[in-house]
Structure formats: C-alpha cells, structure tokens
Amino acid sequence: MGFDQYHEPPDELPAETRTFARLCASLTEEAEAIGWYEQRLAVEPNPVARDIMRNAIGEEYKHFSMDLEFLLRQKPEWREIAQGILFQGGDIVEHGEAAEEAATNEDDPTVDVLPASGASLGIGSLKGRRQ
C-alpha cells in the first residue's frame, strides 16, 4: 500500500504529525463509508441486508466520531471552533463565523481568558449523547 496521507517526505515529519495525518486519512475514509452506506440503504429492499447495513453505518459513525475527537484533542484552535458549531441549534454558518472569530481573537488583550469553547464550557445540547 502507498502512503498517500503524507504530502511531505514522511521521514522528515515528526512522529506526532504522522499520527495526525493517519487519523485525518482515517476520518476521510469513515466519512466516505458513511456516504456509501447511506446510498446503499437508499436502494436496498432486502430487510435483512438493510439491518446489517444499518449496523455497519453505526460502526462508521462511531469510528468517525472517535477519529474526530482524537484530532480535536490535538488542535485546541480546531476544537474551539468545533465547539462553537457542533451540537448547536440555529444557523450553522452564523455559528461558524462566530466560532472562528472567537478562536482567532485569542491574542487580543481586550478579550478575557476563556475556556476552550469561547465564553462557556461548551456543553450545549446533550440530546443523543450517552450519559
């Protein structure tokens, strides 16, 4: 197999950057798999096959989410922006713009010391989350 996830010579990259790139590649693969299962489920009439695919897509949701959480833990700014967007109601683009602005204003001395999510702990909605 190749090492397509690297855009720079791997032996010049630090170990943590190689790990980061592997998980980025994994995240992409899981998202692709979710898209594929979604398409298959849209056309598959056999109920047993559908049950299996539903089970499989659940696995992909889990893998995607674990990959994402790992990557967000490595990059505080990415995490901060994500916390302003994910699991929120309302306008996604509006949240995105606000979260980006909050994250990129961190060096502004007029801005207070903040938790990673901006002004709050970033708890938001817990619907659908395990207790």
Partner: protein, 270 residues
C-alpha cells in the same frame, strides 16, 4: 459578544488551573444535566440575549394618537442562575505541580446544584422566573407508579399509550428521578430480564438519570415540543480572592417553554 463579564483574567489562576477547573465542571455537569438530553436546545445566544421570542402580543388599550392601534410584544425573559464555589489556593498550587488529586469538592457541589436547578425548572417549573415546567403544563393526569419497581413497565406503557392516543409520536424518553432510577437499575423482572432494558424497548428512546426530578416523566423525543433557550451557556467566572481561597461561580442564563403540553406524561413519585 462580550466575553469579559466572567473576569477570568483577574483570577490568580494559571492556565493549567483553569483547564483543570473547566474540565472538572464539564465532567460533573454533563452527567447531571438531564433536561438537555430530552428537550430541544437553542443557542447559546450569548450573555446579551435577554429574552425569548414568543410570537405573541398583548393589546395596548390607549394608542399615542387617534387612527392607530397598538400591541406590545410578549417575551419570556431569561433567568440568570449562578452557583458560587471556592477553590483553595493551596489546592491550585498543588495542581500546578501536577498533583492528581486536587480537591474540587465545592465545585462538584456547585455543578450538581446548577444541574438540579436547571432540571427542576424544565420539568417542574419555576414560577418566579416565569417558567412553566413540563409536568405543570401537561393536561394528562399523573400516572401512579405503584409500590413495586417490578411493575414499572406498567405506568411507563400507560404513559406511552396516553401520548399515542392524543397523536404524539415517539420515540419517547424517560426522565427518572434519582430514587426511581436506582429502583429501576436494581430491579430484574421475573426471569431475570433487566427492567432497564424492558423500559428501553417500550420507549425506544433514552432513559435518563435526572437529579431534581420528582418521580419520572415520559416525554416525546420527536422534537419541537419542549424548547430550552440558552443565552450564556454554563461558564466558570471569577468573583474575588483572599489569602486562602479563590471565589468562583458557575453561571448560565436560560428560559424554557413548552410548545406541546400534551407531549409529556408524569409518573407520580412512589
């Protein structure tokens, strides 16, 4: 959005100390904030967000001049809720040195208090803040629990049937007060089948440990029935410090309204 009202930069707390406090608060709150697992959440809209739009108006009897009629918008003001706590400066210094057992007990208590306040306001109402709770709004009669937890599927099934009868679809969630939750998870029905799993099959939705809830409440999870409006989502702020302690607080602002009163049924405490 103003982010300075928390005054965190004025606190004698290192970045590592803030990270420790925020993470502990997040962990404790996430477990206990039951209402957020079962109702729709809008926001956070920021500290400046002061009221929830109800889309309703009240008449104004007298207009400024002849030839016009006037109404006044009706809104639901947000409530600010604050739970103070202290952290010993010695403990913060220990945390900076890498101690794994920093005493944040007062923070844990504050987190539980705030979560209970939020859960109670959502499920049982808070008249002083203008919030009508789910169990106050529902037109359905309370379903009696019965004395044995073995019989718990009966009131839950009855509640689901009441919801179905008035056209409220599922899946359904179950907010269990702490006593009922303990009773449910301790109980295996005849044949050893866990009661928890049986209830999950009836509801097809989450069963949630809900400190502050009296008895239990079955709520539809189809969405659009129960609306939590968050202004400032829960944050840790700084109040003051002295030689021994740093005085902090957990704070949030929110309102809550019931859009579909018939989408919930209360199960009476035993």
């Amino acid at each position: 959005m103003s982010r300075n009202h928390l005054l965190r930069s004025h606190a004698p707390i290192s970045d590592a100390g803030w990270a420790l406090i925020d993470e502990e608060a997040r962990e404790r709150l996430t477990v206990a904030l039951a209402a957020r697992r079962l109702v729709d959440f809008s926001g956070p809209h920021g500290w400046e967000h002061s009221s929830t739009n109800l889309g309703r108006t009240d008449p104004i009897a007298q207009a400024p001049c002849d030839g016009v009629v006037a109404t006044r918008r009706r809104v639901l003001p947000l409530a600010e809720v604050r739970a103070p706590f202290t952290v010993a400066r010695d403990e913060l210094r220990a945390g900076d040195r890498g101690a794994p057992d920093v005493d944040l007990e007062a923070l844990d208590r504050a987190a539980r208090n705030l979560a209970v306040a939020e859960n109670k306001a959502v499920f049982h109402g808070w008249a002083e803040a203008g919030i009508q709770g789910i169990t106050e709004a529902t037109p359905h009669p309370e379903v009696p629990r019965g004395s044995e937890f073995n019989d718990y599927p009966r009131p839950v099934a009855k509640a689901v049937e009441l919801l179905l009868q008035c056209g409220v679809g599922g899946p359904y969630g179950l907010a269990l007060g702490t006593e009922d939750y303990t009773g449910v998870i301790e109980t295996a029905e005849h044949g050893g089948y866990p009661l928890f799993d049986h209830l999950a099959k009836i509801l097809e939705g989450p069963i949630v440990w809900s400190p502050g809830v009296a008895g239990a409440v079955v709520v539809s999870q189809r969405g659009g029935d129960f609306l939590f409006d968050s202004g400032q989502d829960i944050a840790v702020g700084y109040d003051r410090d002295d030689a021994e302690n740093v005085h902090l607080y957990l704070e949030e602002s929110f309102s809550f309204r019931v859009a579909t009163p018939e989408a919930a049924v209360a199960i009476a405490p035993g």
